[in-house]
């Protein structure tokens, strides 16, 4: 149906399917190697895989294992992840239609399956775990890893045959192996062409699918859920079936020891979208969760800021055009447009609005606060006026508490899991012994930890900071009025603050140095840093990235004035 290539013999596009599932040209009866895509996200058995590839040496497996390919492993990982997302409430189409198709498309484009293998690339299974040549299992000399770092820096190696021979040149006693069939080949492949799959990239896949269906989960939330354990990532290989033995180089691929950063997943996602030749993503309109107006509402609530600020964020969004459908919707491969980080953008808008209203130069906001306090005393009707000082005290306190909790959680994070992994069978008993000792020690010291038990995973929630209006202690500012800091001018309410300072007068070239501006805490007012810190905590990213977006927004907002003004770092009048 969707196979549009011209037949090699007769150049017609007229395909049918044989009984064996292969395409044949109806005009000249030329049978191809292409097979029909099968809707099957389950674990692919070896028989099917072998029918695709040629020249595969069958290895005897005495340990009950089977032959499996790296991409099959990743497929399992994705399956687990999307099931977890489903459990969180994401629509079921994501799994069966969206992600599945993305994955198949990826496999096809990267020529790992669903295609004929290009000539000259035979998959030779190098010796498997448990073979006669023993690897030096002394952890002091990880020759295996040394070998790996060798191969990556050597650049292009044409075939794995030459690789195998270079292996033997390096060291007679070591042999490169993995539980999977193509583990070594996988790591050695030239990445540039084919966008090699990695663990962080599984999250890029997830995010891409979420974006496609426009689910109300931002990337920062997704990553937070991953760290909190609601979406499998670390140690997901635990769920591989027994017969899929993991050892040797597989560990390097599947066992990660770090959390991927926002930027990493984000950039990879865009790379992936371009690689897959995807069309324009579904439109992000005003009613979408990811639209800045919506996200601003969310973050305003979470930051305990008055609802009235929403009018201001909407104004800024409108003025600089970042609410436009064309700006927000993803066009894969379009390098001229800046890629949109929806959550970071929304928080940056809020920061700009705060700067507009309160200046945040470590002086004005406090004076203004006192002023509002005075006005508040005479305020008899309507809601209380918002005072920056009170807000700062309440939010700072909560933020410090939560940050401290987060830091401790990070330090207490348990990275290893019950399923032991080892490079070689020779290592196995040592690894198991160590595991046993670790468990013993955990029990012994766990008992001495007192009443503090490891809390159960908290339920996943969209909000990390919660403020309730029912509290009578005045710690929730949602309903507060901005009138305390506004003034009436010609029938309109405008900010009392007449000034604004730019974060940077000139933007950097993002492609060259990775940032639009370079944030250093000491160079900016502390109130500004506090606000960045607050949103940085909520999004779990570095303040510098929010700062970048703030700079971008400011330059759009004050574009005309910037063009006119000189290079002095002066305070501009609005």
């Amino acid at each position: 149906r969707d196979f549009n290539e011209r037949c090699v013999q007769c150049s017609e596009v007229n395909w049918g399917l044989t009984d064996g599932g292969r395409f044949y040209c109806r005009s000249c009866h030329n049978v191809t190697e292409r097979t029909r895509e099968v809707v099957n996200t389950d674990f692919i058995t070896n028989s099917r895989v072998q029918s695709i590839t040629k020249g595969l040496k069958k290895q005897e497996k005495t340990d009950g294992g089977c032959e499996w390919y790296i991409c099959e492993g990743f497929q399992l990982v994705l399956k687990k992840q999307v099931e977890a997302l489903e459990a969180l409430g994401v629509c079921p189409q994501m799994k069966d239609e969206i992600l599945c198709n993305f994955w198949r498309c990826y496999l096809q484009k990267s020529k790992q399956a669903y295609c004929k293998r290009p000539a000259g690339e035979t998959v030779k299974a190098l010796s498997v775990c448990g073979s006669s040549t023993d690897v030096d299992s002394d952890p002091e000399r990880p020759s295996l890893l040394h070998l790996l770092s060798l191969s990556e820096s050597e650049g292009d190696l044409q075939t794995d045959c030459s690789f195998a021979s270079s292996v033997s040149k390096v060291s007679e006693s070591t042999s490169v192996y993995s539980g999977s069939v193509d583990g070594s080949l996988y790591l050695m492949k030239n990445q540039k062409e084919k966008l090699r799959m990695t663990m962080p990239m599984t999250l890029s896949f997830c995010y891409m699918a979420l974006l496609w269906v426009r689910e109300p989960i931002t990337l920062s939330e997704l990553l937070r859920f991953v760290v909190e354990g609601h979406i499998p990532y670390l140690n997901v290989f635990q769920h591989f079936p027994e017969k899929m033995k993991l050892c040797g180089l597989d560990l390097k691929i599947f066992c990660v020891e770090s959390w991927p950063t926002y930027e990493e997943v984000f950039d990879k996602m865009h790379e992936l979208a371009a690689f897959l030749d995807l069309p324009r993503f579904p439109d992000i309109t005003e009613s979408c969760f990811l639209h800045p107006d919506m996200l601003c509402m969310k973050y305003l609530m979470e930051a305990n800021l008055p609802d009235e600020l929403h009018n201001w964020t909407c104004r800024v969004v409108k003025k600089i055009g970042i609410g436009e459908v064309d700006f927000l919707t993803l066009m894969p491969g379009n390098k001229s447009r800046r890629k949109v980080k929806y959550d970071v953008l929304a928080t940056a808008v809020i920061v700009v609005v705060l700067k507009l209203l309160f200046l945040l130069d470590d002086h004005y906001e406090w004076l203004l606060s006192e002023f509002a306090e005075e006005r508040n005393k005479n305020n008899t009707e309507g809601g209380p006026y918002f005072e920056f000082k009170k807000w700062y005290e309440v939010v700072k306190h909560s933020l410090d508490v939560e940050q401290k909790k987060l830091d401790e959680e990070r330090a207490k994070y348990l990275w290893r899991c019950e399923k032991p992994l080892f490079y070689s069978v020779k290592n196995k008993s040592k690894v198991l012994k160590r595991r046993q000792m670790v468990v013993n020690l955990q029990n012994q010291f766990g008992k001495l930890s007192g009443s503090v038990q490891r809390a159960e995973k908290p339920n996943p929630s969209s909000f990390q900071l919660r403020w309730s209006e029912e509290n009578t202690d005045g710690s929730c500012f949602h309903g507060y009025s901005l009138k305390g800091i506004l003034q009436e001018k010609r029938g309109l309410l405008t900010a009392m603050n007449p000034d604004y300072w730019l974060c940077t007068v000139k933007l950097c070239n993002e492609k060259l140095c990775g940032h639009l501006a370079h944030y250093r805490e000491v160079e900016f007012p502390q109130s500004y840093h506090f606000v960045l810190r607050l949103f940085s905590f909520l999004l779990r990213i570095q303040p510098a990235y929010i700062h970048d977006e703030v700079c971008m927004i400011e330059h759009k907002l004050f574009n005309k004035k910037l063009c006119k003004k000189l290079k002095y770092n002066t305070v501009l009048r609005k």
């Binding site: 401790e408 992994l421 930890s449």
Partner: protein, 412 residues
């Protein structure tokens, strides 16, 4: 984008470790245990590239926590130590030794002895040779425990001896312990190091069995062999031994000489000065003056009446003989700028007089000679003394007044 802030295994464990360290410093054992529970998985470094060196950290921290935690007991502690012994073969003997120390601190001498014996019989290929030093220590401590047993038997024997009983079995046992102890103690003190307790015990054994030559040799080696680190105690032990042996003043003096050089403030300086003062040799008397002045440079000696009396006696003797005033001048030259405020202030005069009249007496004499009769200290004390109608103070006043010119010659 920079990956500096990326949270990974290594950083997570580093953070965990710093929480543990904070908790330990604040003696929050529960909290330390809580974080250590999360830290122990760093032992599983099979696929981690970074070598964290976790096993030593876990051993040391775990030991601290288990030792201090209120809910921990020796059983838990021992169980933990056994695990630690299997953790790193390169550290095996060290762990054994520290375990033994803890057992000793807890009064479990027998268990400690068992552990030492067990450790002594440990063999592990080339590691045995590499950990040779630890092995010697283990043998030395076993020797020490043997000495303790010997000592116990000796006391029993002495008691029985008083009662008129003679106990052959006890005696045999005692000799047995002596042999075992002597062998090991002798070995360790051959190696350059600080072995005070081993030396003392060994010398005790030798003296008991009458081998004074060996004892003397051991002590000389310990004190004078330049390969050994400078150790004041070595000279103290030698001195005490020589004194017990009734050696001549000459050898006693020579034993203390180096001690004076290393630790001028040592308490034996009084004995030293006393011996030197009485010597017929001028050089020795001169040295005696130097010694006592040097000792009194230290704050810990300020209120030592005995020391002041030594100095007073010597100063008085010099003044009366009218010979060697230049000795006093030499000693006083470097001290005249700060001794007055340090020792002879009016405040101290008052306090000394209130708290210790003998002290003030001796000091007043010295002050009067060094600073003249009009100095604050002397004036106050002698005035008080005469007011209280104490005879010796009147004598003092006369003496100092008579020799008042001396201070001019000394300070000029």
């Amino acid at each position: 984008s920079s990956n500096e802030h990326k949270l990974n295994f290594k950083k997570s464990k580093e953070a965990c470790l710093s929480y543990i360290q904070d908790a330990l410093l604040q003696k929050q054992w529960k909290r330390a245990a809580e974080f250590l529970t999360c830290y122990v998985e760093s032992l599983e470094k099979d696929y981690s590239r970074e070598h964290i060196g976790a096993s030593e950290i876990i051993w040391r921290i775990g030991t601290e926590i288990l030792w201090h935690h209120s809910q921990s007991n020796m059983k838990e502690f021992n169980c933990f130590m056994e695990q630690m012994k299997t953790l790193g073969v390169k550290r095996y003997l060290k762990v054994c030794l520290e375990h033994v120390f803890h057992l000793l601190c807890n009064g479990q001498i027998d268990e400690a002895y068992q552990n030492l014996s067990l450790a002594e019989s440990w063999r592990f290929g080339e590691q045995t040779a590499i950990q040779d030093k630890e092995m010697k220590l283990i043998q030395a401590y076993r020797g020490l425990l043997d000495y303790c047993s010997w000592s116990k038997q000796k006391n029993i024997l002495l008691e029985h001896g008083e009662d008129g009983f003679s106990d052959l079995a006890v005696e045999q046992e005692m000799h047995g312990y002596f042999r075992k102890a002597a062998v090991n103690l002798k070995e360790i003190i051959k190696i350059p190091g600080v072995w005070d307790v081993f030396v003392r015990c060994y010398v005790d054994l030798l003296e008991f069995y009458g081998d004074h030559n060996e004892a003397r040799q051991v002590l000389n080696e310990y004190a004078y062999n330049s390969k050994f680190p400078a150790n004041p105690n070595a000279h103290v032990y030698l001195y005490q031994f020589l004194k017990r042996q009734g050696e001549s003043k000459k050898s006693l003096i020579s034993a203390l000489k180096i001690l004076h050089d290393i630790v001028p403030s040592h308490e034996l300086m009084i004995d030293f000065n006393t011996m030197l003062q009485k010597s017929k040799k001028r050089k020795k008397r001169r040295l005696g003056l130097e010694v006592i002045f040097a000792a009194l440079d230290y704050a810990g000696w300020k209120e030592n009446a005995k020391a002041w009396s030594c100095l007073a006696r010597q100063v008085k003797q010099i003044v009366i003989s009218e010979k060697h005033l230049d000795w006093i001048k030499q000693e006083w030259d470097s001290r005249k700028d700060w001794w007055p405020a340090f020792h002879f202030s009016r405040y101290l005069a008052k306090r000394n007089w209130q708290e210790n009249k003998s002290l003030s007496f001796e000091k007043a004499l010295v002050a009067g000679i060094l600073l003249g009769k009009d100095c604050k200290y002397f004036k106050y004390v002698s005035h008080q003394g005469c007011k209280a109608q104490l005879k010796r103070f009147r004598m003092l006043k006369k003496f100092v007044t008579r020799h008042n010119a001396v201070y001019l010659r000394i300070s000029g």
